[in-house]
Every structure is written in structure tokens, then in C-alpha cells.
């Protein structure tokens, strides 16, 4: 028996408020991170990811307050990312109550950061977010929220992250993100099969079948989704029931 496949809703946070049209009828304040996190916990979310998309430098400290408030009320693993640049950023988020921190651009710019966090705090708390896009010959890694193309090959980069001590890989297909066409299961399974650390699939979820495909074909250990849950198309409970009916081990 293995460990349960995880379903992870992802919330975008701007200046301390959840944005991107959360659409729950039974929530009074749709921008309140605590209320939304509570709701997802109740529905059976296995973990919650907060992505800080605050553009301005001054607004960045808000995320610490959000993490702290949520961690005081919601007792499931919390992952936080967006704009994390240094070891002290990671440490501040963990002290505020995050269990894991995702790093992306900073990991590419300074891969030693992965080793530093792993050596000082342990590998379970560092998730490397890898944004990828297919070109003719390979999948390239992108940074800066998908604006900068690097020459890093997705598979090699994920292997390097693992060797440096990353605890998990959050793999986002930029080709699929926002399309609702399903995850890129080909590259997902290739990377998942080559790694010994868990891979979280992200980008493209449009239906419950897509979640299933990412697990069965893409060999994902967890699936992260935003819009299909936020807009109330499906609840986490429905997603779990669907996967369970298909024989997937879920909580």
C-alpha cells in the first residue's frame, strides 16, 4: 500500500487577499484566506498552496500575516510560494506557520539555495516549482512567472533539484495552464518515473477525469488545481469520490 494521492487547491494572494474570483456561495468574504482555507479543509483538501502574486515590494510582507492567520486556524499542511528569494525568506515563511515553501526563479538563479535550505532545515520543507514549455527538441524551464526562457532542460533540471535536496517538484506545464484541456501527462510521467521524490502536477485541469489522468497516466503523486475548485464547478469532495470510484487511494 502506498500513500494517498493528494488533491491540493491553489490560491493566489495579492496584498494579503485571495484574488481570481473565488466563487463559493456560502462564503461571506470571498477574499478572506482564512475562510477559504477553512472551507477547503472541511471539504477534505489534503494540503493548501498559497501563491503570493503581489507585484509591489511594499505589499510583500502581507503574505506572512496571511500564513500566520491561516496556520492559527487550519491544521493541514500549508505550502507557500511566490517571490521567495533567499534563505531568510524561506525561514520567515516557515516561522509564520508554513510547512513547505516553493521556490522557482531563485532556485534557477542560485541553485545552492536548495542545498542551503535542505541542510539547515530538512528536505521536506522545500518544493521547487518548475514551469516548463515545450519547444521542438525539449521542454525548457521558464522563470519570472513564465516570462523568461532558460536553456535548462526540464528533466535534467528536476534531477538536479532532487540531487540538491528538493523535497518535491511542482511541475507546471505552461502549454496547458489555463487551457482546461488536461495536464501534460507525457512529460509528467517521464519526470515522475525518473525521480524518487514526489511530483505535483499543475496546469490544465478542466475536469475530474483530468485529475485522474494525471495520476494514472502522468504518475503524479499529487494534483494541484485552482479554477475548477474556486468557481465551484467541482468540490474537493466530488474529486475525491470520483478518484476513489476509479480505484485511486485517496483520503
Amino acid at each position: 500500500m502506498s500513500v494517498a494521492k493528494r488533491i491540493i487547491p491553489c490560491l493566489d494572494v495579492d496584498k494579503g487577499r485571495v484574488v481570481k474570483g473565488i466563487n463559493f456561495i456560502d462564503i461571506v468574504d470571498a477574499g478572506d484566506p482564512v475562510e477559504i482555507a477553512k472551507k477547503y479543509d472541511k471539504e477534505g483538501a489534503d494540503e493548501i498552496t498559497f501563491l503570493d502574486i503581489t507585484a509591489s515590494h511594499e505589499g510583500r510582507d502581507n503574505i506572512l500575516g496571511v500564513v500566520e492567520q491561516v496556520a492559527n486556524e487550519v491544521f493541514i499542511p500549508l505550502t507557500v510560494g511566490g517571490g521567495v528569494k533567499s534563505f531568510s525568506d524561506v525561514r520567515d515563511l516557515l516561522s509564520a506557520g508554513a510547512d513547505k515553501v516553493t521556490i522557482n526563479t531563485a532556485a534557477v538563479a542560485n541553485p545552492d539555495l536548495i542545498n542551503e535550505v535542505t541542510d539547515k532545515i530538512g528536505r521536506q520543507c522545500i518544493v521547487v516549482a518548475v514551469d516548463i514549455k515545450k519547444s521542438k527538441e525539449q521542454y525548457n524551464v521558464y522563470t519570472h512567472g513564465g516570462r523568461h526562457k532558460t536553456q535548462l532542460d526540464a528533466v535534467n533540471w528536476c534531477l538536479e533539484c532532487q540531487a540538491r535536496g528538493a523535497g518535491e517538484i511542482l511541475l507546471t506545464s505552461m502549454d496547458k495552464d489555463g487551457t482546461k484541456e488536461g495536464f501534460d501527462n507525457e512529460i509528467l510521467s517521464e519526470i515522475s518515473n525518473k525521480l524518487s521524490i514526489p511530483v505535483i502536477a499543475s496546469g490544465g485541469a478542466g475536469s475530474l477525469q483530468h485529475l485522474y489522468d494525471a495520476i494514472s497516466q502522468g504518475k503524479a503523486d499529487a494534483v494541484l488545481a485552482a479554477s475548477i475548485f474556486h468557481f465551484g464547478e467541482y468540490s474537493i469532495t466530488q474529486a475525491k469520490d470520483f478518484l476513489r470510484d476509479k480505484g485511486v487511494f485517496v483520503r
Binding site: 500500500m1 500513500v3 494517498a4 491544521f75 493541514i76 516561522s95 530538512g122 503523486d221 483520503r251
Partner: protein, 210 residues
């Protein structure tokens, strides 16, 4: 006011542990942090969380809390993750380290025992199978999901000590109960409603011990 004392030896994030005990104890107890042996004297209950490696954990505990062993035997005690593993006789992490020998058995490396297809650390939600009828499991279904993060697993020798088991290719001891001690491999502070229920049960059970 009675104290629930959480041991801080500088190796783990105490935020969620403290908040979960605060939430559950509902202001009936003061949740405080112990950094010295002196702090433990005042404790009504002791909580030992922990992440990281067993060797450095043991080193720090023996340096900062020389009388920890005695306190564990004499006060209601809740060990979590590494705070569970160090109760055994020996951990084989980092070429091996002697532990507190309160529970008979050892802590071993998953990667040497389980199928290559399974990932280590064992991270995520898995079933906890209760092996004892006990107040600690009150209002928690016999098989329930809890959240785990660990690369080494414990095997208790005596069936008497085993409170629950979990399967990750192999069956391992996921919690123990002995006299005034309850300790678990999983993280109740991250295990949603059943995790909070377990903490609440521990407090109730501790009160009955006096």
C-alpha cells in the same frame, strides 16, 4: 494555571504544534515553550515535537534537558515524529544513535526495506490502524487518515506498547502508548479534525492520570 509545555530544542517549527494545543485546550491550559530543564519542572504535560535527524536531536536534548528521561516517565507525555522515534532503544539514522530506551524496539531506514517504486520520505496522508481500545482514540474511527513526513520508521518489539500501525509497503508502528506516554510518528497538528480530536483526547486522558 496548568501548563502544557512544548519542548523547544531549536530544531523544529513549533508554530502549528503550539496553535493546535491552544485551540483544543480552549484556554483551560497555558501552552508554553520549554528551553531548559527548569521549564519542564512546572509542566503539567510535556509535548515533544521534532523534525530533522535523530542524532542531533538526541545531542541537543541531552545537553539542554539532562533530566528529560525522568520527566517523560513522570508526567503525561506526547511525542510527535522525532519525539516519538527517540523513545525507542536505537535509531539507525546517520550510522546509528542510542536513544532513550523507554520503548523496546528500533528505528530503521525505509529505503532499505520497501519497494523501489515507493518514494522516501513517506510523505502525505496514510491510514492509521488502531491496535488498542483506548481513550486516546475516542471519537476517531478505527482506521483513519493522518499526515506523515518521515524517512525512518519504528518497530516496537512488544505488542503491548503498540497503539497503532500503518502500512507503507511494510507494516510499522505508527503510535505507542505506555503508562503516561503517548507518542506518534504522524503529525496530529497537521491532520485536520482527527488530529485535533487526538490532541483533545490526550488532554482528557492526561487529566484522568492524576
Amino acid at each position: 494555571m496548568k501548563n502544557i509545555t512544548v519542548i523547544d530544542y531549536g530544531m523544529s517549527n513549533l508554530h502549528s504544534v503550539i496553535k493546535s494545543f491552544q485551540k483544543v485546550s480552549n484556554k483551560k491550559y497555558k501552552v508554553c515553550v520549554a528551553t531548559t530543564n527548569e521549564d519542564l519542572k512546572k509542566a503539567s504535560m510535556i509535548v515533544l515535537p521534532g523534525q530533522g535527524a535523530a542524532k542531533s536531536c538526541m545531542q541537543k536534548l541531552t545537553t539542554n534537558f539532562p533530566r528529560l528521561h525522568e520527566h517523560i516517565l513522570n508526567k503525561p507525555f506526547f511525542g510527535i515524529c522525532l519525539g516519538f522515534q527517540i523513545l525507542f532503544e536505537r535509531s539507525y539514522e546517520d550510522n546509528g544513535v542510542d536513544c532513550l530506551s523507554i520503548i523496546k524496539g528500533s528505528v530503521n531506514d525505509f529505503s532499505k526495506q520497501i519497494s523501489q517504486d515507493l518514494k522516501v520520505p513517506h510523505m502525505g496522508w496514510n491510514n492509521v490502524e488502531q491496535k488498542k481500545d483506548h481513550a486516546i482514540w475516542s471519537n476517531i474511527p478505527r482506521t483513519s487518515f493522518f499526515y506523515f513526513v518521515h524517512s525512518y520508521y519504528a518497530s516496537a518489539e512488544s505488542k503491548e506498547d503498540i497503539s497503532s500501525t500503518t502500512t507503507y509497503d511494510i507494516d510499522f508502528t505508527s503510535s505507542v502508548i505506555k503508562d503516561n506516554i503517548f507518542a506518534c510518528q504522524f503529525h496530529p497538528e497537521k491532520s485536520s479534525k482527527y488530529g485535533l480530536q487526538l490532541i483533545s483526547n490526550f488532554i482528557t486522558w492526561s487529566e484522568s492520570l492524576k
